[in-house]
Amino acid sequence: MRAKDLLGQNGEALAADFLTEQGMRIIDRNWRCADGEIDIVALDGDTLVVAEVKTRRSLDYGHPFEAVGAAKLARLHRLVSSWCRAHEFRAPRKRVDVVSVLDSGVGHPVLEHLRGVG
């Protein structure tokens, strides 16, 4: 496995733990369809949360949040509906979150969480 994929996987695991600590229930990970991939699907109360996780080793190429552009955001919103259709799931409310993981390899990774973006 390549280093960047390993970093991403670690980041997603950290993010999943983090969201669980926040009181969310993880119901799916790395769900794929023709349109793309969802990193984490979770339930925050009765709200369905689709979380995108971005992991970086440093800020040299910008903050992880900056990698989530308008196109990616639009796709995430489409994927929420795709996931619901595929699992015949009805949620009263849906939300897209972004979690950034900054893992320089030294000390604890830094996590930041944005709720309900775009």
Partner: protein, 513 residues
Amino acid sequence: MAVGRSYCVALVGLNGYIVEVEADIGQTLPNFVILGLPDAALNEAKERIRSAAQNSGIPLSRRKITANLIPASLPKRGSGFDLAITMAVLRAAEDIRSIDGTVFIAELGLDGRLRPVRGMLPAVMAAVQAGYPDIVVAEANVAEAALVPGANVRGYKTLARLAYDLGADPKDLALDFDPLDEETPGLDPDTEPFTPDLCDVSGQGEARRALEVSAAGGHHMLLTGPPGAGKTMLAERLPGLLPDLVDTAAMEVTAIHSLAAVQASAVRLMRRPPFENPHHSATAAAIIGGGSGLPRPGAASRAHRGVLFLDEAPEYERRVLDALRQPLESGELVIHRSAGTAAYPARFQLVLAANPCPCGKASGKGMDCTCTPVMRRRYFGRMSGPLLDRVDIQLQVERVSLADFGNAGQEEDTCTVAARVLAARDRQQARLWDFGLETNSQVPGRTLRGELRLPPGTTRILDTALERGILTARGYDRVLRLAWTLADLDRSDRPDIDHIGQALGLRQAAAAI
């Protein structure tokens, strides 16, 4: 997080308006939005600000930054808002301490240096007037900003230094960065092109006298004569005869030139009356002011409180010449464009020069002239009656004679004549102060025939001329104005018959054409 707030100035023409800059940092994906009618240059501020802040060691928040320029309805343009937006954003992130009430006017370089902007003088004037005397500008703009009385101006070379003074964490700041002083071509009146001296003009006694009268009373002037007679030479020497500008006038003139300059910063007030000499192919926009978006001042405004010289006046487009009628009347130009309306002062002294006919040989007996009468009439017809009606002195300049030509260096120099002009201006001011006027050329006919009425014995020749229809009512007033200036130059309390006669001569010299 708090909302950051700073102030800047938006210029519409010469009028500045305080703009409040609000910055908010939202808890969502990174973005940078500027609200409040920014133009293209202002929208590019985002990239300049991000880079400048990064390179100064005080990076902007990696969240959604919203900068709002209030009032939103006022169109804002240019790069002068860079610094104010940056400070508001840094304040919103609590990177610096409170900066309430401070006005920031500077453009940012990508490396974090502060760059000067044009129009600094009118902007600072507006800020001080609106009650915001604390102003931060680029170092290169300090001299110009400090010309405004009451302004408390601080200049900085780099964003890092400014942030340091405002309490930013010095750990990462790029305080060592010290950009070299750029050689900015300053608007320094001392290095302005040298003004030619009146003693260079040989002979032309009548024309010199007319020039002196024109300078003393602020009268507009038309010079007609064959090529080579020295019309241009005479006109170029008029600004040298005019007295220095007083504080308020100097401020206005410097403000216009600060706005019209592309890359120059005034270092002191312009005390000498400006001289504008546009080419006769100039368009109305070049003379009056214009351009896309908010109009910029044209030659007429740049000649404010100075001389606007139109050489080969009949060669100008007629609508260009007629467009000058409004400023001649009101001393102001109001220009409307899509982005707004700008008013520029334009109280200039107009000097027109013209050949007697298209071939230029119709003076004297006009034996060599090859123009038909229709051609001649059409040529002069370009200068419309209403325009010429506003020109007090209409003088015919003849070729210099051999006798005069040999006597070079014998003539009075600019200094001597300027002293007489200044004395005459003082007399006018003492007399006209109560009417709120400065020169004889501004006195309305009502006042001339009312408070300043002359005894009937003095004005008899005028009355006769008016009765016979040789002189129009407006022409009558013009002669009276010239007569007052002639009396002021002679240190008389009021014009006598002789002055009226001379005035008639100055007025009618070109009437034969």
